[in-house]
């Protein structure tokens, strides 16, 4: 418990530093977001002025940041987009979609990744092992948009196995294909990590002892080997959950899922500081919580860590 509180306190400076950095970075992008907003048509100077005042764009960086943070903590106000939509409203709309996508991808990674890893480890050096190795190398090498568009056209459009895009059919149907695409990269890592770790542990003394004692093979693998092998895998899966939330930009674009990733991308282009900072803040918090959970989970998997 004290450990958990300690970890949460550590998060505060991380939180302040990241939000300020992000704000400063968005602020330092070249160009005038208000002029860009108007496109090819000129906006009269007084209109530009009114818009800049509204978004405090004429104030120095530190004042803007201060005003923004004051809004967040005093009024729970995350600011508004350049089209006048409150960021908090925008996030509640989009959050659920990204979370559903990330969870789908994560489950896919976890179940199929660990499964493939164990499968390959038990058949080390044989054809199945080589096939898993080749397959995962391929997935890691191919960019996600290629996987995404190909899966969409082949599995969605031509074969009709999955909806092509959008969220019309809800969870899980609409999220299966994008989840698999998003999770494919992590899956490859999980599979290889699991394989390496299981192979190593299968050679360990305690496993040999267990086998020598005449213990059933399923128990040797499932209870003794796997439990020890999963520590690096759990670390990866924990960190990767945050990655999945943040890294869904491309996948959300291809499958037209109006989630957080899509929003961040649009907002960076429009230089909408409040949105970028608002989203990043939440992502930072997710990373912190995910890492905390991973640390706590270590204790469950390996009692030595808990006591130490």
């Amino acid at each position: 418990m004290r450990y958990a509180v300690h970890r949460l306190l550590q998060a505060i400076p991380v939180f302040v530093a990241t939000t300020f950095l992000i704000y400063a970075m968005v602020w330092s992008l070249p160009g005038d977001p208000i002029v860009a907003l108007a496109g090819d048509k000129p906006l009269p100077e007084n209109v530009l002025q009114a818009l800049r005042d509204h978004y405090h764009l004429n104030d120095p960086l530190i004042v803007q940041y201060g005003l923004y943070m004051a809004g967040v903590f005093l009024h729970g106000d995350l600011g508004e987009t350049f089209t006048g939509q409150p960021v908090s409203e925008l996030l509640t709309d989009r959050w659920a979609i990204t979370a559903q996508l990330a969870v789908t991808a994560w489950i896919f990674e976890l179940v199929v990744g660990i499964g493939l890893g164990v499968f390959a480890a038990l058949r080390r050096g044989r054809l199945a092992d080589t096939a898993v190795l080749a397959g995962t190398t391929f997935v890691i090498a191919v960019p996600v948009f290629v996987v995404g568009y190909t899966a969409q056209i082949v599995l969605g459009l031509n074969l009709g196995l999955f909806p092509t895009a959008g969220t019309d059919e809800g969870w899980p149907t609409s999220y299966l294909l994008p989840g698999m695409v998003l999770g494919s990269f992590g899956l490859a890592y999980v599979a290889r990590l699991t394989r390496a770790s299981v192979v190593e542990n299968l050679r360990a003394d305690y496993v040999r002892t267990a086998v020598a004692k005449g213990m059933r093979r399923s128990r040797v693998i499932g209870r003794h080997t796997l439990r020890n092998s999963l520590i690096p895998v759990v670390t990866y899966l924990g960190v990767d959950f945050g990655n999945l939330m943040a890294g869904a930009v491309v996948t959300e674009g291809i499958f037209n899922l109006p989630g957080i990733g899509q929003q961040v991308f649009q907002s960076i282009q429009l230089q909408e500081g409040p949105v970028v900072v608002g989203v990043t803040t939440l992502l930072v918090m997710i990373f912190i919580v995910a890492n905390l959970l991973v640390d706590l989970l270590y204790g469950v998997l390996d009692p030595r860590i808990r006591r130490g």
Partner: protein
């Protein structure tokens, strides 16, 4: 409609009947789509609009929605002619004081009557500086605009009403302009001039989310950001174009490639922007459900004529003659765009096929001779464009290669500017070389192109009294017909001096599913009211 299409429709019906009888015992409805008695609804692919208040958006995605929600005073038909819609007539003796008669008996979706005041209120709000609405500058030529937009920084306007707008009676609006303007009626077709009900002004923010219009469709529920916008047929509609279907569902996409995939999968019924790269495939797949539409959008290559190195008209013409427009359009835009030898787009009344003549024809030998005669360019030639779309860089590279090969310009560099910074770079005249210039038409009048881009205070820093006088004369001409020859003369002046080279005219490619008929997309509107659901 062609016989071919009917035959195909029959085949589809037959197939559907067979399928139905084959699985007669099962539950039947599989998709939740409009089988049988459900409301006749179709879906339209859209990008997220920025606003839905008519005075506060110039985004083409917003306008697609607004054109279904609102009836403007006049409209432009498929042939580019002005037709009355909410107005009975728009007339003037001197082209400066305009009298607009509004058709009586029209209603907003909330039951309020559409009157002269509905228009005056909407226009005042758009012209009021502190509101900071996008279409503010459209009202700059109405008397009293200065008062609503004081020059001094932070000054608050003393009034929020344009003195040039007079509500004579509920059906008559009088508009006083600051100068004669023969094109005024065409401008009224723009959705920025749509009326707003009194109910809008109690909460403008809420109105932007749930606009109340006077068109054949009304909003059904709220605008669900980044997901969908639902419209339903407005039963109290008394205008000239009642909706032929019960509902429209705008599905919002972030990528047009995805929207196109959904069209192929029959998940969306109408897509107005098939990506140029997929045009060939879409043509094959969709057959007569592939609809190319002319567009008013043009690309140009502008010169900084304020820069000493670009002050020779011969030099600018030589560059124009050294560019192979046809070749670039083929290579970069799949042949969908049209090479231009005119400053205005083909759909604009008064367009001529080739007023540019020799100066826009690809001729490397003549180009080189003219280039040498002009003295050429010393030093580096910088080409400016923004990073908003990868195709800009592609065609600029082609232009650079042609200038190197055909004119022997040794040192050509690219200045790729972030999209957010591009227009302010041009506005502040920071460029020192030719730049990509794009124009999206507001209304089909040569004036919209010529005065906006070559008129006073233009980006090129080009000034020509003869040109300005001809534009002023055309604006004051007694009728639209009388104004055309004068605009054409002005165009000739601009072409002779060539401060900006016409390159090509865009084209849109729409496609629709076999679930809908009566699609009548034209360059001015998708005309969603004419669509029926099978």
């Amino acid at each position: 409609m062609t016989v071919h299409k009917k035959a195909r429709g029959a085949a589809v019906l037959l197939a559907a009947a067979l399928t139905l009888s084959a699985c007669g015992g099962s539950s039947g409805d599989t998709s939740g789509d409009q089988g049988g008695k459900g409301p006749k609804q179709f879906s339209v692919a859209l990008n997220e609009p920025d606003h839905l208040t008519p005075g506060n958006t110039s985004s083409s995605y917003s306008i697609t929605v607004l054109q279904a929600l609102f009836d403007t005073l006049v409209v432009i038909d498929a042939k580019g002619q002005t037709q009355m819609r909410a107005a009975e007539s728009v007339t003037s003796q001197d082209q400066q004081t305009w009298t607009i008669k509004i058709k009586p008996g029209q209603k907003f979706h909330n039951g309020e009557a559409v009157t002269a005041e509905s228009f005056a209120d909407a226009w005042n709000a758009a012209a009021y500086g502190p509101n900071a609405w996008t279409n503010n500058y459209y009202f700059a030529n109405i008397e009293g605009y200065d008062k609503l937009n004081p020059e001094a920084e932070g000054a608050k306007p003393e009034t929020d009403k344009l003195s040039g707008l007079k509500v004579v009676d509920p059906n008559t609006l009088e508009v006083h302009l600051t100068a004669p303007f023969s094109q005024f009626p065409i401008t009224l077709a723009y959705t920025g001039f749509a009326p707003m009900p009194k109910a809008a002004f109690t909460d403008l923010k809420a109105y932007d989310q749930k606009p109340i219009g006077n068109g054949p469709f009304a909003l059904d529920g709220e605008w669900s950001h980044n997901q969908q916008i639902k419209l339903k047929k407005f039963d109290g509609y008394a205008g000239s174009r009642p909706a032929k279907s019960d509902a429209v569902l705008f599905k919002i996409y972030a990528s047009r490639d995805t929207a196109y995939t959904d069209l192929r999968a029959n998940k969306v019924d109408l897509l107005q922007t098939i990506p140029p790269a997929s045009a060939g495939e879409a043509k094959k797949l969709l057959g007569d459900r592939f609809v190319p539409t002319a567009s008013g959008t043009m690309d140009y290559l502008g010169f900084p004529t304020f820069d000493k190195r670009f002050q020779s008209a011969d030099l600018r013409k030589a560059i124009s003659m050294a560019i192979d427009r046809q070749g670039i359009v083929q290579a970069v835009y799949n042949g969908t765009f049209k090479p231009m030898a005119s400053l205005v787009a083909p759909l604009v009344p008064g367009y001529r096929d080739n007023p540019c003549g020799e100066a826009c024809a690809y001729d490397p030998a003549k180009a080189k001779a003219l280039y040498d005669k002009s003295g050429g360019i010393k030093g580096t030639l910088n080409l400016y464009f923004s990073n908003a779309d990868p195709s800009y860089e592609q065609w600029m590279q082609a232009v650079a290669n042609q200038l190197k090969q055909n004119l022997g310009i040794a040192d050509v560099q690219f200045k790729k500017i972030p999209a957010a910074d591009y227009l302010s770079t041009l506005r502040e005249k920071k460029e020192d070389g030719p730049y990509r210039n794009n124009w999206v038409m507001d209304y089909p009048s040569p004036q919209n192109y010529l005065e906006s881009m070559w008129g006073a205070g233009n980006r090129m820093g080009w000034e020509n009294k003869q040109f300005n006088d001809l534009i002023a004369k055309a604006n004051a001409a007694p009728s639209m017909e009388a104004s055309i020859p004068l605009y054409q003369q002005a165009e000739d002046v601009a072409l002779a001096e060539m401060p900006m080279i016409p390159l090509w005219n865009w084209q849109d490619q729409a496609g629709f599913s076999n679930k809908i008929t009566g699609v009548a997309i034209d360059p001015y509107s998708p005309n969603l009211d004419t669509i029926t659901v099978k």
